[in-house]
């Protein structure tokens, strides 16, 4: 695959919803059979993919394995990727689905039926990001206490700073449903983080 060759693509910061011309070139090159061009896409989206996956599986080793698997799966399915669209939400969706599958598998192995109402208590085993402080950890705990779908949507919005349209693509939900989940999540988070939540003049 010519790994010794220097890749003709360099990472440039682009808002992910805006299509990056270098990304389009890389996608076209990969589809044309130049596997070395795929490294540009991996480099660009690896960090956030890892972070999103970690937010679901809460374990560094699993996150690493799943991120790698997601990129390999995306490469195999490159012919299904719609050219002209940003690669980010697509790879995040693949990674999110893999991570959710692992969580469901864990639940089955532990004989705990997966439930949207009863999120698994996974805080003890989580290796939290080094930058997080006590407040961030409280937010993390509050996000973990939300029902699975709501927690995922809220985490993608708050932690990963993704737009509603991107969250909709990743989760397979409509933008309206994403907004509705966020609204419900906000109410619950405000309740559990009451002392951290600033005073609001009009909330409803």
């Amino acid at each position: 695959m010519g790994r010794g060759r220097s890749a003709p693509f360099r990472c440039v910061e682009y808002r992910e919803s805006v299509v990056d011309p270098l990304e389009q070139r890389a996608v076209a090159a990969v589809r044309a059979g130049d596997a070395s061009a795929y490294d540009y896409l991996v480099s660009k989206y690896l960090r956030r993919t890892l972070s999103i996956v970690w937010g679901i599986v809460r374990n560094g080793q699993d996150a690493e394995d799943l991120a790698q698997e997601a990129f390999m799966k995306a490469y195999e399915r490159m012919d299904r990727f719609r050219e002209g669209e940003p690669f980010g939400p697509w790879i995040y969706r693949i990674a999110t689905n893999l991570a959710l599958d692992l969580v469901r598998h864990r639940a089955r192995v532990l004989h705990q039926p997966p439930s949207d109402d009863l999120p698994a208590a996974r805080l003890q085993e989580a290796d939290l990001p080094a930058r997080s402080n006590e407040i961030a950890q409280r937010i993390d705990a509050a996000l973990e206490s939300l029902p699975t779908q709501q927690g995922l949507v809220a985490r993608l919005h708050l932690v990963e700073e993704l737009e509603h349209s991107e969250i909709a693509t990743i989760t397979g939900l409509s933008e309206g449903t994403v907004r509705s989940h966020l609204s419900l999540a906000r109410k619950k988070l405000r309740e559990s983080l009451r002392d951290l939540w600033p005073e609001e003049k009009s909330d409803e």
Partner: protein
């Protein structure tokens, strides 16, 4: 200041700190793993991939034909059967 979904900036700012960063070593491992996993096959790999199912199919056909022939030959003339005795009598004694 709240965003359009009503989350205050102070909460969003703290939440951003929860972004997971695997570190340079982890990222390098993943990139290397992906690169190794998507190595394009060379000519020999492609030939091997093509040859293995063809060889398996050919072996299955050969085995099936051998068994069929063997079974047919076995059933053709059984000297102990009535038909076999008739054939033998016809050949040895010219009985019709």
């Amino acid at each position: 200041m709240n965003d359009e979904t009503g989350f205050p900036e102070s909460i969003r700012e703290e939440a951003r700190k929860l972004q997971y960063q695997g570190g340079v070593a982890m990222e390098a491992r993943i990139r290397a793993g992906v690169a190794a996993g998507i190595v394009q096959p060379n000519v020999f790999d492609l030939l091997a991939r093509w040859f293995v199912p063809v060889a398996a199919a050919a072996a299955a056909v050969l085995l099936a034909s051998t068994l069929t022939l063997y079974s047919a030959a076995d059933q053709a003339v059984d000297p102990g059967s009535e038909a076999g005795m008739m054939v033998m009598a016809e050949e040895v004694f010219g009985v019709e």
